[in-house]
């Protein structure tokens, strides 16, 4: 099953390269991927827990190097997210003027990089799949981007390559910190060795810091976030949907999969640093977001800001916060993809995303307005959407850490900041909605058409997904719970 999910987009890309029509093939391929991801998600046996659907192909026995696929709840929810957003991004791709087929190939490659990383149980492939996804990202921005696209493309590539490089050093050190006899690229084996206390606390501190920075750059952890808004503003909307919605989650996935469970001592040691930085993400970036005057930049910054909540859930390192973080990864992926999709459609119709030039668009484009409104309320954590359920869990999880009635400690203060961040989110997102969709309609956009026909299907699909998990978070928690009550429970304080 996993093999199908991992290779469906790759094979589809190959078929398109061989000359098949771009859009239809890509749609079919991503639909197959999504279907397979759904089936895997719902057939996961949560009573048994652990990694399931495991399949292994030996590459080198002496190196203990395998092409090893397997998924637990965390992987599965990320796979569903990747497949859903891929489907949405492909569907939302407007007619492309230059080399349309290559565009679709790039989209599919980004998705398969993310999917491969989420499904890999082998350290090498976990890393390599993500690296693969960086190249098509570069191409998508460099070739089909808008604005100063070359600068943006280079900026994101250099940032992410540097982040990956730091990450690589960390991963190598991690691998080497295990005694030679137990050394393996199998994540399960590494975890077992780590749980048995194979990694000395001092080594954990060093490695965790490297992983935190390495993954952090990929997630746009403050102050390594500067690539995000610029790249997201330049990239074509489908690429941004995939990157902000899915690929960026690779770093978070890595923290949850490797750094937190394998290096509990390091996590504890550096939790203060993570808290400081995530407050930077929420409050400082939140303020920067308020000051933006264009929708694409604002959304780029807002996606940086919302990473702060996920960091908070991760930092809490208890079952409540970690489950919340995982659910928010999914929820944020959906809502930011929708927001960028709408932004792309607006730009396609009006040629501008500057607030002061837009206004009253909901009159002509009720459906687009509805979509943006729904995604806005999802992003600011309105109950009913998965974002709210996740944020509540994160708040409760973080507030509990070291909490007593004597006063507020660091985790409580960070929670307070995060709660204030909810106000900040409402300020900038509702302001954007007010500026773009409400108010007196601008004469220039009288004839602009609404989102019509089959383009509404992916919108409804994505909204339905986040509503389903918002009303019934237990759908996700069924598969997530076994993950975080076994591997990471050991770090619970």
């Amino acid at each position: 099953m996993l093999l199908l999910i991992v290779f469906a987009p790759l094979v589809t890309a190959l078929i398109i390269l061989l000359g098949a029509p771009g859009r239809v093939t890509a749609l079919a391929g991503s639909a197959v991927t999504a279907l397979a991801a759904f089936i895997a998600f719902f057939s996961y046996d949560s009573a048994r827990g652990g990694f399931q659907f495991v399949s292994s192909w030996t590459i080198s026995e002496s190196w203990r190097w395998h092409f090893l696929l397997g998924a637990d709840g965390l992987s599965l929810i990320m796979l569903v997210l990747a497949a859903l957003v891929l489907l949405g991004a492909v569907w939302f791709t407007p007619p492309i003027e230059k080399s349309e087929r290559l565009f679709y190939v790039c989209l599919l490659l980004i998705a398969s990089g993310a999917i491969g990383a989420f499904a890999s149980l082998d350290l090498f492939f976990f890393y390599a799949f993500h690296e693969v996804a960086l190249i098509p990202t570069f191409l998508l921005i460099g070739i089909w981007g808008t604005g100063d696209r070359f600068a943006a493309a280079w900026k994101i590539t250099i940032y992410l390559a540097l982040g990956s490089f730091v990450l690589l050093i960390g991963l190598i050190l991690l691998y080497r910190s295990v005694p030679a006899a137990a050394r393996t690229l199998d994540l399960r084996g590494l975890q077992a060795a780590a749980s048995a206390g194979a990694i000395a606390p001092a080594a954990q501190n060093t490695i965790f810091l490297l992983l935190l920075i390495g993954f952090g750059v990929l997630i746009s952890l403050f102050p390594f976030h500067n690539w995000a808004p610029e790249a997201y503003a330049s990239a074509p909307a489908p690429a941004t949907m995939l990157h902000a919605g899915v690929l960026k989650k690779f770093g978070l996935y890595g923290l949850l999969r490797i750094a937190m469970p394998m290096l509990p001592e390091g996590a504890r040691h550096w939790s203060w640093l993570l808290l400081v930085l995530l407050i930077g993400n929420i409050i400082y970036i939140g303020l920067v977001t308020i000051a933006q005057k264009r929708l694409d930049w604002m959304l780029g910054y807002s996606s940086v800001m919302h990473m702060g909540y996920i960091f908070l859930g991760i930092a809490s390192a208890n079952i409540i916060g970690l489950n919340g973080a995982a659910l928010l990864m999914f929820a944020h992926g959906i809502s930011i993809a929708l927001l960028f999709a709408v932004a792309g459609e607006i730009r396609r119709r009006t040629g501008t995303l500057v607030f002061s030039e837009l206004g009253g668009l909901a009159k002509n484009m009720p459906f687009l307005g509805f979509t943006f409104g729904v995604a806005t309320f999802a992003a600011i954590g309105l109950p009913g959407f998965a974002n709210f359920a996740a944020e509540v869990m994160i708040f409760f999880g973080a507030f509990r850490v070291g909490g007593n009635l004597g006063g507020f400690h660091f985790f409580q203060i960070a929670t307070v900041c995060a709660l204030w961040g909810v106000v900040i989110s409402a300020v900038y997102l509702l302001r954007a909605y007010r500026a773009i969709f409400m108010g007196p309609p601008n004469e220039r956009w009288k004839a602009v058409p609404d989102l019509a026909g089959t383009l509404r299907i992916p919108v409804i699909l994505l909204i339905a997904a986040t509503l389903a998990l918002g009303f019934f978070p237990n759908i996700a928690l069924r598969v997530l719970r076994p993950t975080f009550s076994s591997a990471v429970a050991e770090t619970t304080r």
């Binding site: 490089f165 869990m393 509990r400 929670t415 909810v422």
Partner: protein, 595 residues
């Protein structure tokens, strides 16, 4: 099952309208009305039958460490509240059939109304803090949607945003309070948290902070000073919405919530003191502002803020019963007044300036009659519903906190003054505009709900009626002083207003300070610009020019001496990156194999 049905029917209606009947505007309206009537029938059955239990479902289940149930709490408090909310809701839905008959966005309007009913019933029935917060936010968003109903105009669009964000500020405190309740008592289910209140023992500071933070939620939702600013602006929404959401039910939800968590609030005397004073300040200030408004709905809006202040005052005086009593009578007479003002506005082609009305008693006799009944109740005319409930609060204040009593009585005087002013200017004198001279009575679908509401507004205060719904406050030894003082205030207020406004065509006082909301809104705008605006611009500047510009570029230039990366930039091709990547892979393999 029945309570769940009452809760979910409006949600089903909202979903049906959004997904199916949106193009059929009249059908949407009937779906919505049918749903709320269905909820009302359920509520009647629950109320008269005394249903006490309903199944709970699990919303978030993380095993023993964290469970959030969605359960319904059915006691006499929630049963009565459910009855009132669905009852007033039904009347307003029916009234809306007339008021919104020709509106383009009728489907959207009724979908929003249904969503509101769902959320409001959820607040009433919630059995735990997280669940009440969920529906708390949902009433907020439905309020946002209906305030911004005419979104193509700037004022409603701004008002909707302001309402939502102001409420969010209150909810920031509310959520923090919930986290603290959970930390101290180990639960957020009301009944368990009440049992766990011993957890606060020895931490009175934490307890007070918790109670006040929970109160923050009510400050936002019930428009208490200093977060009252959104409610008058919310009058940009359609008038039936103002009656239902911004007078009778949603804004009262804050008071209801405080009564619901009375076990927490009443455990801290310091918190009670603060709450009582916030309520008092709100009551007085809002009444002062009401005296100089010229928009008929704004007068009523400030009056609502002021009356909510009375209720919060009662909560602060540790009498949930008195607060709920006034909440119920206020729901009836204020909804009635808003529907009356809507009837005027509808027949006067959306004219809301009371100085462009006049002599409407001749043209709209039924509206005038019911409006008078509502006014008498609001100013506490002896025998009316408002007389009894306001008297209950004033007696409390008289016994427990004399300064608050004095301010409460003064507010009563102001109330009598501004309502008499309104009635005199709107219904009597000469018509002062063309539309005012040519108006007529509203259609029956609007008048009948007003007639029905005037019954509880008139007699709702008598014990035989009120006791069916509520536990009335025990006033202790009856005192004659309080009703006498109240009556004196009433006479002074009414008398002054009649003398001052009879036959006037323009405002004789013109006190800009009161008319311009004590300049509080301007102050907030200034403060927001000075703090948030400045900080935001500063952060954006730092991010763009310092962090990105200087440090990142500087580092990439400096650390990689000679600028390996800059060269990479100039080379500008993919091979360089692929090379870097390949280097990494080789490094990884090297380490794995040879070490």
């Amino acid at each position: 099952m029945l309570p769940w049905l009452a809760l979910l029917l409006p949600l089903a209606s909202a979903l049906i309208i959004m997904s199916a009947t949106r193009p059929l505007r009249s059908l949407s309206a009937y779906v919505s009305v049918a749903a709320v009537l269905g909820s009302f029938v359920c509520a009647c059955f629950i109320f008269f039958h005394g249903t006490a239990t309903a199944a709970a479902i699990s919303w978030i289940d993380l095993g023993v460490s964290f469970r959030v149930p969605l359960g319904l709490m059915l006691d006499s408090l929630s049963r009565s509240m459910l009855f009132m909310v669905t009852g007033v809701g039904s009347l307003v839905h029916i009234y809306s059939l007339g008021y919104m008959r020709d509106d383009d966005g009728k489907s959207r309007y009724f979908a929003g109304l249904s969503l509101f009913m769902f959320a409001m019933i959820g607040i009433v029935l919630a059995n735990n803090f997280v669940m009440i917060f969920i529906f708390w936010e949902l009433v907020g968003v439905s309020s946002y949607l209906v305030i911004g109903h005419w979104f193509e105009r700037a004022a409603p669009a701004d008002a909707a945003k302001k309402a939502f964000i102001t409420n969010r500020v209150g909810d920031f405190g509310f959520m923090l309070g919930i986290l603290m309740v959970w930390t101290a008592t180990g639960s957020f289910v009301f009944t368990d948290a009440a049992k766990g209140m011993t957890g606060f023992a020895g931490h009175s500071g934490y307890l007070t902070a918790t109670a006040l933070l929970v109160f923050c939620g009510a400050v936002g939702k019930s428009a208490q000073f200093p977060l009252h600013v959104w409610l008058p602006d919310a009058m940009e929404g359609p008038t039936p919405v103002s009656a239902l959401i911004h007078a009778a039910t949603m804004v009262a939800a804050g008071v209801y919530m405080l009564v619901r968590v009375g076990f927490l609030i009443q455990a801290s005397p310091d918190a009670l003191e603060v709450i009582a004073w916030i309520g008092t300040i709100t009551a007085v200030l809002a009444a002062l502002m009401a005296t100089q408004q010229n928009d008929i709905k704004r007068v009523l809006a400030y009056s609502t803020v002021s009356q909510l202040g009375y209720m919060v005052m009662a909560v602060g005086l540790a009498s949930g019963e008195a607060a709920m009593f006034h909440l119920f009578t206020h729901a009836a007479f204020k909804a009635l007044l808003f529907l009356g003002s809507g009837s005027l506005i509808y027949m006067l082609h959306h004219e809301q300036d009371m100085w462009r009305m006049g002599e409407q008693w001749k043209r709209m006799p039924l509206t005038c009659l019911t409006f008078l009944i509502g006014t008498l109740a609001l100013i506490g005319f002896p025998g009316s519903s408002g007389f009894f409930s306001k008297d209950a609060i004033l007696v409390l204040a008289y016994q427990r906190n004399f300064p608050i009593f004095v301010l409460g009585a003064f507010t009563a005087l102001l109330t009598a003054f501004y309502m008499t002013r309104l009635v005199v200017v709107v219904f009597f004198g000469r018509p002062r505009s063309d539309v005012a001279a040519r108006s007529g009575e509203s259609p029956a679908v609007m008048v009948i709900p007003m007639l029905l509401l005037s019954i509880p507004a008139a007699i709702g205060g008598f014990g035989f009626f009120a006791r069916r719904f509520l536990t009335l406050p025990n006033e202790g030894a009856p005192t004659l002083a309080v009703p006498m003082i109240a009556l004196a205030c009433l006479i002074v207020g009414v008398g002054t207003a009649i003398l001052l406004y009879r036959g006037r065509t323009r405002e004789p006082l013109n006190i800009a300070f009161f008319r311009d909301r004590l300049y509080l809104d301007d102050l907030y705008t200034f403060l927001i610009r000075a703090t948030q605006g400045l900080l935001a611009s500063l952060s954006a500047f730092v991010d763009r020019w310092v962090l990105d510009g200087a440090i990142v570029r500087g580092l990439s230039g400096g650390v990689f001496g000679g600028g390996f990366l800059l060269r990479l930039l100039q080379v500008g091709n993919l091979q360089a990156y692929a090379f870097l990547f390949g280097l990494g892979i080789i490094g990884l393999i090297y380490f794995t194999v040879f070490h």
